[in-house]
């Protein structure tokens, strides 16, 4: 083996890709050639630098934000000044200045609407490609609390894994899960389990329940894409298209939709839940299969856009293990159910949500669990340990959610001295009309 052959094999040698004979020949040459030996040793240092550079940039993904900024730049009011600059520039790619300017003008003014039409076409094809679903499994990450409401967005929290399994045929069954909360609909009933010790059973099958509606809508890919297309057309939501190469090396079409909630920035519900947020939804389709491969949702916030949900695993029409639709609750679980009618039920039924919040926190402060239990369905040991002996700092005024529940802001100091500011969710029990805690503790 000569120097040139040996140096051609450096990478294969370092990465263990040479066969036994070639490796021996390379080693033999290195033992006799000081120049190649020096190069070979230097390779390791440079490789380390390159690997470190690659690792530093491992999570970088900026195609979508860059293309969005380009789109915004092209259509902002100052566009004239950009155009003026372009006209003034002496162009070096074979066009006269005037012809070049005309080309750029049409490039900016005509190409983007065409791209928008292409984006709509891609979404339409994507919807058609999943028109007949027999099952679906979604796996994503959402910024929220592990055990709180399934539809809650909390941009200041870390990402929590959320999954949905849904079987459409032969009979509808589904399961939605995140680390602190799971709900299973096994075809007969719907069972919610909030870890570690709270359960609630609805004795009939449901198409969705316990604030999982938005994820069910997303699982209905065909419907989701059709709904987006309708909103794009009727509400004039902006839509953009970019092309990029996926991690698998295949070409992808990335469609971004700017969704508007219609709520003002001072509305309490603004940006709190998926249905009340101003977001940018980014759909990535594989160009060959036309299937939707991933979804990202960015929350528009004053401090800048923030990724709050990313759906990166979509398996459609794959068999789902039947055990997914079974849920065994631990023995210590306290089950909620029909709330009992109290002798003085009218007094509680007449309360506003703020009064109910005040009464339940005061009961917890006194550790009067008989009174507190009137507001929980059921009252668990975990809640007793958490709230017993608290001090109320202040309570706010309620906001009504789209599902009829009301949330009341609270500021309390726990027995361990920790301050907690959040919102207690309250719902009226349909039989007794009393408020009971539906989340936020």
């Amino acid at each position: 083996m000569n120097c040139a052959d040996c140096r051609d094999n450096f990478i294969a040698s370092v990465e263990g890709l040479l066969d036994h004979d070639q490796s021996l020949q390379c080693q033999a040459h290195l033992e006799t050639c000081a120049a190649c030996r020096t190069e070979y040793k230097a390779l390791a240092g440079l490789q380390r630098r390159l690997v470190a550079r690659g690792q530093a940039a491992a999570g970088v993904r900026m195609v979508e934000p860059v293309m969005r900024r380009i789109h915004a730049e092209q259509f902002k009011p100052e566009r004239e000044s950009i155009m003026t600059k372009l006209f003034k520039h002496r162009w070096g790619f074979g066009l006269s200045a005037a012809a070049g300017a005309a080309a750029i003008l049409s490039f900016i003014l005509i190409a983007m609407p065409k791209a928008q039409a292409q984006a709509v076409a891609i979404m339409t094809k994507g919807a058609q490609a999943v028109a007949k679903l027999t099952s679906i499994h979604l796996r994503g990450q959402v910024r929220t609390l592990p055990g709180d409401n399934f539809s809650l967005i909390m941009p200041d929290q870390g990402f929590v894994t959320i999954e949905l399994w849904k079987q459409f045929e032969p009979g509808l069954k589904w399961r939605v899960e995140k680390p602190g909360r799971v709900v299973v609909m096994d075809g007969q009933s719907t069972l919610l389990f909030i870890k570690p010790d709270f359960g609630y059973k609805v004795p009939q099958p449901t198409p969705s329940a316990f604030d999982t509606q938005w994820l069910h809508e997303m699982a209905n890919l065909n419907k989701t894409l059709e709904t987006e297309l309708t909103a794009i057309k009727s509400r004039n939501w902006p839509i953009t298209l970019t092309q990029e190469q996926g991690a698998d090396g295949k070409a992808k079409s990335v469609v971004s939709v700017e969704a508007r909630s219609g709520l003002g920035a001072d509305d309490y519900l603004h940006n709190k839940f998926f249905s009340t947020a101003d977001t940018r939804r980014v759909y990535t389709f594989d160009n060959q299969s036309e299937l939707l491969e991933s979804v990202q949702i960015y929350l528009h916030a004053p401090a800048g856009d923030q990724l709050v949900f990313k759906l990166d695993e979509i398996d459609s029409n794959q068999p789902i293990d039947p055990s997914v639709f079974q849920l065994q609750l631990p023995a210590n679980v306290s089950m909620g159910g029909a709330m009992p009618m109290l002798p003085d039920n009218e007094k509680y039924a007449a309360m506003t949500s703020e009064q109910a919040a005040r009464a339940l926190f005061d009961a917890c402060a006194r550790e009067d669990w008989t009174e507190a239990a009137k507001f929980f369905n059921p009252l668990t040991d975990t809640v007793k340990q958490l709230l017993g002996g608290l001090q109320v700092v202040s309570l706010g005024t309620h906001t009504t959610l789209s599902n009829g529940a009301e949330i009341v802001p609270y500021d309390i100091t726990l027995k361990n001295g920790e301050n907690k500011k959040w919102n207690v969710g309250l719902k009226r029990d349909p039989t007794t009309h009393r408020w009971f805690v539906d989340g936020g503790i």
Binding site: R49, L50, V66, E73, Q245
Partner: protein, 187 residues
């Protein structure tokens, strides 16, 4: 199949602006790494990288040699990083803070010539280095991506490495010469 930088640039100019996303895909990580060594923190590097791509897109008509897109992009990135640095310096008027910034911004200067040296490689060599090290693909995955035999990939990577090393040495040599000249002027 992957196109060359020149082909992508020409397609962008010919009414396919969405293809610019493929150039961003190709160079986002190396540009980020390049800028991360020049600015104060990673969010600034990401912001500078995004800004550089936007400026590059808007300036595509000015690019005389589309095949030199990458080195041109690094030049834009370098200007953006300098502007960012000056803006930050202006914002923090405190002299002590400025001194700290100056130190931190120049403490890793040995790192950023790596991407400048990469820009000097032939495009096929550069793409393999980017795929292998910045995208983290194995040699076999690079071969599959580019539709080449594994042996061709390892040989091209070996040659790319040698070219890169020699380019870095030449830069060190040039810079040490410039430093000597500057020191001579100061004394």
């Amino acid at each position: 199949m992957d196109l060359t930088d020149k082909e992508y640039v020409e397609r962008c100019r010919d009414g396919h602006p969405e293809d610019f996303g493929l150039l961003v895909t190709r160079y986002q990580k190396s540009l980020f790494a390049y800028l991360a060594a020049r600015v104060e923190n990673l969010p600034q590097a990401e912001e500078a990288a995004q800004e550089s791509f936007v400026r590059a897109f808007l300036s595509l008509p000015k690019l005389r040699k589309p095949e030199s897109f990458y080195s041109w992009l690094l030049g834009i990135g370098s200007r953006v990083a300098r502007e960012q640095f000056r803006a930050e310096l202006h914002r923090r008027r405190d002299a002590e803070t400025a001194e700290t910034m100056m130190t931190s911004a120049t403490s890793e200067t040995e790192n950023y010539p790596l991407e400048e040296a990469l820009a000097a490689l032939p495009e096929n060599h550069r793409q393999m280095i980017l795929l292998r090290y910045y995208e983290g693909l194995s040699c076999q995955e690079v071969a599959t991506r580019l539709g080449l035999p594994l042996g061709t990939v390892t040989k091209t990577l070996s040659r790319a490495y040698l070219l890169l090393r020699h380019e870095l040495e030449a830069r060190d040599f040039r810079e040490s010469g410039e430093q000597t000249v500057n020191q001579g002027k100061q004394s």
